[in-house]
């Protein structure tokens, strides 16, 4: 069955008939990032109003690959298990050159994590789940509310909002622009993206067919079914397959979007005509970002702040990384617990994370779509060698899949402890009793204390589970005992073999600033 788009009900907002009290937070855009942001803030005790110019979920599958880290974030928001249940779980990717497999990867080679490496799930499902969850936590969701002007003041912003019943003004202490790659808010503020635009054109087609392709990511360079170009295939729920075909910059986008052009191309990929087109799109690449994500009372998160090429699934997943880094900080500012200066920590960390995504994405794009001359020469050299010598295989770049970055913190650390849980990294999951460590970490700063007594007088919640093998392997290594300070976004803030309360308190302060 095709996805059943049910419009959300528009109700005339109170601002049409009288001035509304100033809101703490207004989120512009009810895509996955805006919705996740609203729920994350609600989890931290801050209610937000969400304004969206439309009244349905995403048309077309759009973002489909949700990373392990994103699934952990979605789980914290209350929709992770649903997403995994509905989605197609995968962890293996295979890359082919012509007909031969030249490279494969397993993104989660070890057990003992609640969430799988990746789940493919159409963006419209994720949005549907997030809308339901946002309603459950009492979010003020306003459909058909289009922001047409932003007026920035020192400590608040005034939005002019267009509705079917006329315009009104809405004041908010903070505005979060989650309004996508073509962000109208970004344009209203006169802000420009910086970075690379790639001259390449791709066709995305979602097709519905009965087939038994494995739950793996399949990528081809120069396959016989699409000569000289590249192709990508992903399996989604509901018997839908995502096919990406490189078209070349010389292709005519107006012609290429016609079904009579698309269908024969897809027939060559799948070998028959027994499928229906569900959704198609033609796109070009960009790898660009705003210089800063914080502009007075207006904050940017997700595609409004940065755009990447789709190979690597770093768009939607990168946006959820923004939600992760912003929610706890902004909530503390709104509640008056921390000064607004802690938002510099959000800016610093997510610019860093974004640059890592842009770097990976640009490199993949350059490999997939090399410039004429020496770029193509070396790209073809790598592909030629990959089937003959192992060393060339890791150079084959069909996309480096999204992983959370490790923030560059200068925090207390101990060389005896494992690299994977160093300060700045997301705390690795592990089984814990009947559940999981990620579930026990919660929404506040906490101490994970293994094999020792927690120092008294930190005022922090303490988790001191029995030291199981996975915990030992991921958190102790060769050390007998350790204490970890973990942030509300589950990032390791600092760790000690010999902890003391004063050091822990200082590390909490530094963590707010992302230092």
């Amino acid at each position: 069955m095709p996805y059943d788009y049910k419009p959300f009900a528009y109700t005339p907002p109170p601002g049409l008939t009288g001035a509304e009290p100033r809101h703490k937070v207004a989120i512009v855009g009810a895509g996955p990032i805006g919705l996740a942001m609203a729920i994350e803030l609600a989890n931290h005790g801050v209610s937000a109003v969400v304004l969206d110019d439309n009244n349905v979920v995403s048309v077309g599958s759009r973002a489909i690959c949700w990373s392990k880290r994103s699934l952990e974030i979605l789980d914290r928001l209350g929709v992770g298990e649903r997403s995994v249940t509905k989605g197609v779980t995968w962890k293996v990717g295979r890359t082919f050159h012509r007909e031969a497999e030249v490279f494969n990867f397993d993104l989660l080679p070890e057990d003992g994590h609640k969430m799988p490496a990746f789940v493919n799930l159409q963006q419209y499902y994720v949005e549907e789940y997030l809308v339901e969850r946002a309603q459950e936590v009492g979010t003020d969701l306003r459909w058909k509310n289009k922001v047409v002007a932003v007026d920035r003041h020192a400590r608040h912003a005034v939005l002019t909002v267009q509705t079917p019943d006329g315009d009104y003004q809405l004041e908010a202490d903070w505005v979060i622009a989650c309004d996508g790659a073509r962000s109208p808010i970004r344009a209203m503020l006169g802000l420009e993206f910086e970075g690379e635009l790639f001259e390449e054109r791709f066709l995305i087609a979602d097709i519905r067919m009965q087939a038994d392709f494995p739950s793996e990511r399949l990528f081809w360079f120069e396959p016989s079914f699409h000569a000289g170009q590249s192709a990508l295939l992903h399996k989604q729920p509901d018997a839908i397959y995502r096919i990406d075909l490189q078209l070349g910059w010389d292709s005519d986008p107006e012609q290429e979007r016609l079904p009579e052009r698309i269908i024969p191309r897809i027939q060559k990929v799948v070998g028959h005509g027994d499928f229906t087109l569900d959704w198609t799109s033609i796109y070009t690449f960009q790898c660009r970002r705003l210089r800063s994500f914080v502009h007075g009372p207006v904050l940017f998160a997700g595609d409004s702040a940065h755009v990447v090429s789709p190979f690597g699934a770093r768009g939607g997943n990168g946006g959820l990384g923004d939600v992760d880094a912003l929610g706890w900080r902004l909530a503390a500012v709104v509640k008056g617990e921390r000064p607004a200066s802690v938002l510099a920590g959000y800016d610093r960390e997510r610019v860093f994370g974004t640059d890592e995504n842009l770097l990976n994405s640009s490199r993949s794009t350059r490999f997939m779509s090399p410039g004429d001359g020496v770029e193509r020469l070396f790209r073809d050299a790598v592909l030629h060698l990959a089937s003959r010598a192992d060393f060339a295989r890791p150079m084959v770049n069909s996309g480096r899949l999204s992983k959370p970055c490790v923030y560059p913190l200068s925090a207390p650390d101990d060389v005896a402890l494992p690299e994977g849980s160093r300060p700045g990294a997301v705390a690795p999951d592990a089984p814990l009793g009947q559940g999981w460590l990620t579930e026990a970490l919660g929404r506040d700063f906490c101490l994970l204390v293994l094999g020792q007594e927690a120092p008294a007088g930190t005022g922090l919640r303490v988790l001191s589970p029995d030291v199981t093998d996975p915990l030992r392997q991921r958190y102790l290594g060769q050390a007998a005992a350790a204490t970890y300070l973990i942030r509300p976004d589950q990032v390791v803030a600092a760790r000690w073999v010999n902890p003391d309360a004063a050091g822990i308190r200082a590390a909490v302060e530094a963590a707010w600033e992302g230092l």
Binding site: F378, D380, A381, L385, A389, F391, A392, M395
Partner: protein, 63 residues
């Protein structure tokens, strides 16, 4: 480790001849492609990032 810039091939003339022989019969484009593969093969053999950086810099000099 540092890039070796003193003679290290015992039979310099022999290697040069072997290099040309390896390209024999290839078109100019095929030779360029082979050279690109050769760079990758040798770079992997060296492996050391510092040496590779120095090699890139030396090769680029005067270009």
């Amino acid at each position: 480790m540092a890039l070796m810039t003193t003679p290290n091939i015992s039979d310099a003339d022999g290697f040069y001849a072997a290099l040309l022989a390896a390209h024999k019969g290839l078109s100019e484009a095929e030779s360029h492609a082979m050279n690109a593969r050769l760079v990758l093969v040798l770079a992997n053999h060296i492996g050391d990032a510092t040496v590779l950086q120095q090699a890139l810099a030396l090769a680029r000099e005067g270009a």
